[in-house]
């Protein structure tokens, strides 16, 4: 933790490095496959990528333990960064499973897809590990640029290209604000490292005039990435236009990464200004969840529905930050993890409802699904109930912990609004189940579902954890606390 430490501690970067290595491996396999024109080799790319995810997860488990800083305090490996790494890995792993048979239908360049997923994940992990504004920015751009490409993966599709373009232009716009905010904070404190910023901000000799506009612009930058209202407008269009597995990945992993840095910047670098940013974030949280929920009430496209739902979830998670406590951080981490499982699960089901050549499904496809495909409908219903926050599924405890943190942090009013919102939100999740079970099947209904085993495994895993984290939520906390191999961790 000592800033003067000149040790590199490069091993702290092992998770991200492992992802990059596997990304290179995927590309190599792809190139090799192109040369030989052998289909089996090319088909191996997702599995190489998945192996990368699993190996990295193993590395993360191995590294659990004492916090280690690296590059003279530019980044840190601690419980929190590893927690975010796990969430990103979950999202990447599940998305790879969902993509395995989906992406070849959309774009022939299979290899670069998986390599990009891994590289993006590496950037996202760095978001969780960064303890310096410059590293945050680098990580932000690393994963954003990759995502712009993935959103437009289906080049022949106008909506996909439009989505990519929109995401890119608006993302660049928002990044500009972020850099400007970072610059202003640097201008006020003369530091980019979080702990130094915090030290300067509490120093009575510092002139803090510039720090407040700086904070405001940082909020805009992060707000764009996690889709807070009013910086959210890209979300439904991009979510709808991007290939569904990409949307699934984005919705869970981007949120995790952006919230990770958001939390660390505000709680480590700027805690002394909490009296100012606390109410602002609380207001944004209220706006975000309310508007997200209200807009979701009227959607008929399932992907847009889930997009607005993801906006409202961003609002709920922000409640944890507004609370500004350790409990809030732990709660948000649990939220992000649960959200990854249940939301990717829901998107995975959506891929099954899409017809040939489509990348979205209308709610009408669900009519009477309970009769046509009872198992699929039951799975979807569980994801919906979990998203709505019904116990005993993961989504319930996610909300529970976050709202409880808000009450404990003296923000009962915020928790009350959030709970009323989740009551409104229940309506549209419920609508999905109503349509599946309480409508008769008709011509629109999906009658044939072209499933495949990687997708089934993905849905199965997502389902298992959606339930497991609800029945044994302590699984996660125990994992994070025990630090299985502490003895082997590096000092």
């Amino acid at each position: 933790m000592n800033n003067a430490s000149l040790e590199l501690n490069i091993v702290a970067l092992a998770p991200a490095a492992s992802m990059v290595i596997f990304a290179l491996l995927v590309m190599a396999v792809d190139v090799f496959a192109r040369g030989t024109r052998t289909q089996p080799v090319r088909a191996a790319t997702p599995w190489v990528a998945l192996l990368g995810v699993l190996v990295t997860a193993g590395v993360c488990v191995w590294l659990l333990g004492q916090p280690v800083t690296t590059f003279q305090g530019m980044a840190i490996l601690d419980r929190y960064s590893l927690g975010i790494a796990f969430v990103v890995l979950v999202a990447a792993g599940l998305s790879i499973l969902v993509s395995a048979r989906y992406i070849p239908r959309v774009n022939a360049q299979v290899g670069e897809y998986y390599a990009l997923i891994l590289l993006i994940s590496a950037g996202m992990m760095m978001m969780g590990a960064a303890t310096d504004l410059i590293v945050v920015f680098l990580a932000l751009e690393t994963f954003s640029l990759g995502l712009y490409i993935l959103a437009g993966l289906r080049r022949s599709d106008a909506m996909s290209s439009e989505a990519a373009m929109k995401y890119f232009l608006l993302g660049a716009f928002a990044s500009g604000f972020f850099v400007y905010g970072a610059a202003l904070v640097y201008g006020a404190t003369g530091a980019t490292q979080f702990e130094q910023i915090a030290a300067m901000a509490t120093n009575p000799a510092t002139d803090l005039t510039f720090i407040y506009p700086g904070i405001a612009l940082l909020i805009v930058g992060f707000g764009f990435k996690v889709s807070l209202v009013p910086f959210h407008m890209w979300t439904p269009d991009v979510y709808q236009g991007a290939p569904t597995p990409v949307t699934a990945f984005m919705s869970a992993a981007t949120k995790a990464a952006a919230f990770a840095a958001f939390y660390r910047v505000f709680l480590v670098a700027l805690p002394s200004q909490q009296a100012v940013w606390g109410p602002a974030l609380a207001t944004l949280a209220v706006l975000t969840m309310t508007l997200g929920n209200l807009a979701a009430l009227r959607q008929s496209s399932l992907k847009r529905l889930l997009a607005y739902s993801s906006i409202s979830h961003a609002g709920y998670i922000l409640v944890g930050l507004a609370a500004g406590s350790i409990a809030g951080v732990e709660a948000s981490l649990f939220y992000l993890l649960s959200y990854a499982f249940m939301n990717i699960g829901a998107f995975a089901v959506v891929t099954l409802l899409e017809k040939q050549g489509e990348m979205d499904a209308d709610g009408a496809r669900l009519r009477g699904l309970g009769q046509r495909k009872p198992l699929l409908a039951a799975v979807m219903a569980i994801f919906m109930f979990s998203l709505a926050g019904v116990p005993p599924f993961a989504g319930f405890f996610a909300k529970f912990f976050v709202f409880a943190a808000a009450v404990q942090g003296g923000m009962s009013w915020l928790a009350a609004i959030a709970m009323l919102n989740s009551a409104i939100g229940a309506y549209y999740y419920l609508r999905v189940t109503v349509v599946m079970y309480f409508n008769a099947p008709d011509a629109e209904t999906v009658s044939e579902v072209k499933s495949n085993w990687p997708l089934n495994v993905g849905i199965g895993v997502a389902l298992a954890f959606t339930i497991l984290l609800g029945v044994f939520p302590s699984l996660w906390t125990t994992l994070m606390e025990s630090g299985v191999v502490t003895a082997l961790a590096l000092r």
């Binding site: 608006l170 008929s300 709610g363 044994f472």
Partner: protein, 630 residues
């Protein structure tokens, strides 16, 4: 025996799993019996637990069994544990006992139902969730059960989702309404739980009970007010009762089990379980007493004018729940549980009787088309009459003792105003109970077609009626004013109740007797004899007719204050906030305005400058805030 308490949950869970996985290959009868046996086995376990508990000395009758540490996050931990004490075991016996009988009845009632696997799966799932609700030793576990029973209720109300009629509209919508109204109550429950946790540091009932006295009054008032909201959602009290009448869209056994005997009493259970909190906040407790008794009164006035037999019973349930809630809040928790138990038997009996009528008349349940059925269905008639007598408070039946215990408890507490409203309600109760009987079974048939087709049902349906009728008569004898056996047993959980003096007791009993007999007399004179004086008496209240026809305008107020504004706001967002919305398959809150401002659409349809402008506006606002706040 307590080591085997987990069997209580294992049996219904096993039943549900068997039906889920093997159901498609089993016949309706077998599935029905598997489900019934699962519940009856749980009933056996509950009885055994009761016996073991009874064998213990009174002060030792509270056993906690911890299964695993449910969750630990930060410094917060909740166990997955059950609490076996007189209160929880009494609830478990009612849930599994009445539940078991209703399961058996359902085998007969649902004999033409193609989706019987699903039905019995839901029923077993419900029993499991209800047991979790009453057996948990902490607020969180109860909440899991609380949501579980809500889910089961929603699924079962909308069981015939494809049906639609003038009574209920789409049956699926009735289920949705129940779910959403309950979500409001659930949100309040959650918030109460958070406040308890942040102020007490634990969610275990025992710990909360010990530390509650140390909390500041404002905190306690907040907690109890929020719990009040939760209770009014689940137990159908004002202002959240509106879902229950529509819940009658579900199959009749469901109405009997969930919407009369068990689930709706969960709120009463919660008040009794957290009685110490209410004792510390007398103001809120008084409010609850009033809410309960006024709900009882207004629901009773509505029960009198209903023409649908099930709706009469539904409003009657709301009314009886009002008694329970009032008693639980106003220092008579033992009596509240007593009437809860008695009510579970006689109301389940009445609902199953109504179901028996429905089964025989091919679904006709409108009392204006019935009449004279006692000749066709003598057994249903006699059992239904017993149920109505119990409900109407005819002396010596269970309802009489129960209502007497409640009213005496309220009077002994000094709440004479509440007591007098309770007496008036008792009169109304007697009138509507016998009105239901007389219009259905006595007099001349009003619709010969229906009458001709009616027939008595098979033993599998009539049998449970007789068993319930037996208990509707006798259950009260366990708790007569001079031998309060049940309340004594419960006092280990509820605390000792103020003893009612002999003089007061005699006065209350006398008044109750007179009131119920007068109600019987009036109903007999009016609905069988058609005597003139009854009509004159009724005409004094004719000015209330419009209000009663409109259910005291409550639904309209909700429509105007909540539903319409919300629909309008959502519609506005659909147009302005999100131009790409296409309202299609999934039905939305309100009506759809398809042509939604083409100009706005063009301006915003994916236009990047607009989005950027939105971000820019946000930037300006946030900047202004930070510059001025900083």
């Amino acid at each position: 025996m307590f080591d085997y308490a987990w069997l209580l949950f294992a049996f219904p869970a096993l039943g549900a799993l068997i039906i889920l996985f093997l159901g498609p290959w089993l016949s309706q009868k077998i599935v029905g019996w598997i489900a019934s046996l699962a519940v009856l086995s749980a009933f056996g376990v509950a009885l055994a637990l009761f016996a073991s508990l009874y064998a213990l000395p009174e002060e030792a009758r509270s056993i906690t069994i911890t299964y695993w540490e449910w969750m630990t996050i930060a410094n917060f931990s909740v166990p997955a544990a059950v609490l076996i004490d007189p209160l929880s075991i009494m609830m478990a016996i009612v849930v599994t006992g009445v539940g078991g009988l209703i399961h058996i009845y359902s085998i007969g009632y649902m004999d033409h139902e193609p989706r019987y696997q699903r039905f019995f799966f839901y029923l077993n799932f419900f029993i499991l969730a209800m047991l979790i609700l009453v057996m948990s030793n902490n607020f969180l576990g109860t909440f899991v059960g609380w949501e579980g029973v809500g889910l089961a209720s929603y699924l079962l109300i909308g069981f015939w989702f494809a049906k639609r009629d003038d009574q209920y509209g789409w049956y699926a919508d009735a289920g949705k309404k129940a779910f959403l109204v309950n979500r409001i109550g659930d949100a309040a429950y959650l918030l109460a739980m958070f406040i308890i946790w942040s102020s007490v540091g634990s969610l275990t009932y025992a710990v909360v009970e010990e530390t509650a006295a140390l909390l500041p009054t404002t905190t306690l008032v907040f907690i109890t007010l929020l719990l009040l909201f939760a209770v009014s959602g689940k137990s159908a009290q004002f202002p959240l009762y509106v879902w229950l009448p529509e819940a009658m869209a579900g199959p009749t056994p469901v109405s009997a089990l969930i919407h009369a005997a068990t689930m709706v009493t969960a709120g009463v259970y919660l008040i009794v379980r957290t009685g110490h909190l209410w004792d510390l906040t007398p103001i809120v407790a008084q409010t609850v007493g009033w809410i309960g008794i006024l709900t009882a009164f207004f629901a009773a006035t509505l029960a009198i004018v209903q023409v649908d037999l099930k709706k009469i019973l539904a409003y009657s349930t709301i009314s009886q729940l009002g008694y329970m809630v009032a008693a639980a809040a106003v220092g008579a928790p033992g009596s509240a549980i007593f009437i809860l138990v008695a009510h579970a038997f006689f109301k389940a009996l009445l609902f199953l009787g109504a179901g028996s009528v429905m089964h025989a008349t091919d679904g006709v349940i409108d009392v204006r088309r019935l009449g004279g059925l006692r000749h066709k269905m003598p057994q249903t008639y006699i059992t239904f009459l017993i149920g109505a007598m119990a409900l109407g408070g005819i002396p010596l039946l269970s309802g009489f003792w129960a209502k007497d215990a409640v009213l005496a408890g309220i009077a002994a507490d000094g709440a004479f105003l509440i007591y007098s409203v309770g007496v008036v309600t008792a009169l109304l109760t007697a009138i509507y109970s016998f009105r239901a009987v007389f219009l259905t079974f006595n007099g001349k048939p009003r619709d010969m077609h229906v009458y001709e087709h009616a027939h008595e049902n098979k033993l599998i349906m009539v049998g449970p009626l007789w068993i319930l009728a037996f208990f509707s008569i006798t259950i009260g004898w366990f708790n007569t004013p001079f031998a309060l056996a049940m309340e004594e047993f419960l006092s280990a959980s509820t605390g000792h109740q103020e003893h009612v003096g002999l003089f007061l007791e005699l006065v209350v009993v006398t008044i109750s007797t007179i009131v119920s007999l007068f109600g019987l007399l009036y109903a007999w004179a009016r609905y069988i004899r058609g005597e003139h004086w009854t009509l004159t008496l009724a005409s004094w209240f004719a000015w209330l007719q419009p209000a009663l026809d409109n259910k005291w305008y409550v639904d309209r107020v909700y429509d105007a204050v909540i539903v319409r504004p919300l629909a309008a706001v959502a519609g506005w967002f659909a147009r302005v906030f999100d131009p790409k919305v296409i309202d299609g398959a999934v039905n939305a809150v309100g009506d759809v305005t398809v042509d939604a401002g083409e100009a706005v659409r063009k301006l915003q349809n994916g236009a990047i400058p607009t989005y950027a402008f939105s971000i820019f506006l946000g930037v300006v606002v946030v900047l202004i805030y930070f510059i001025f706040a900083g």
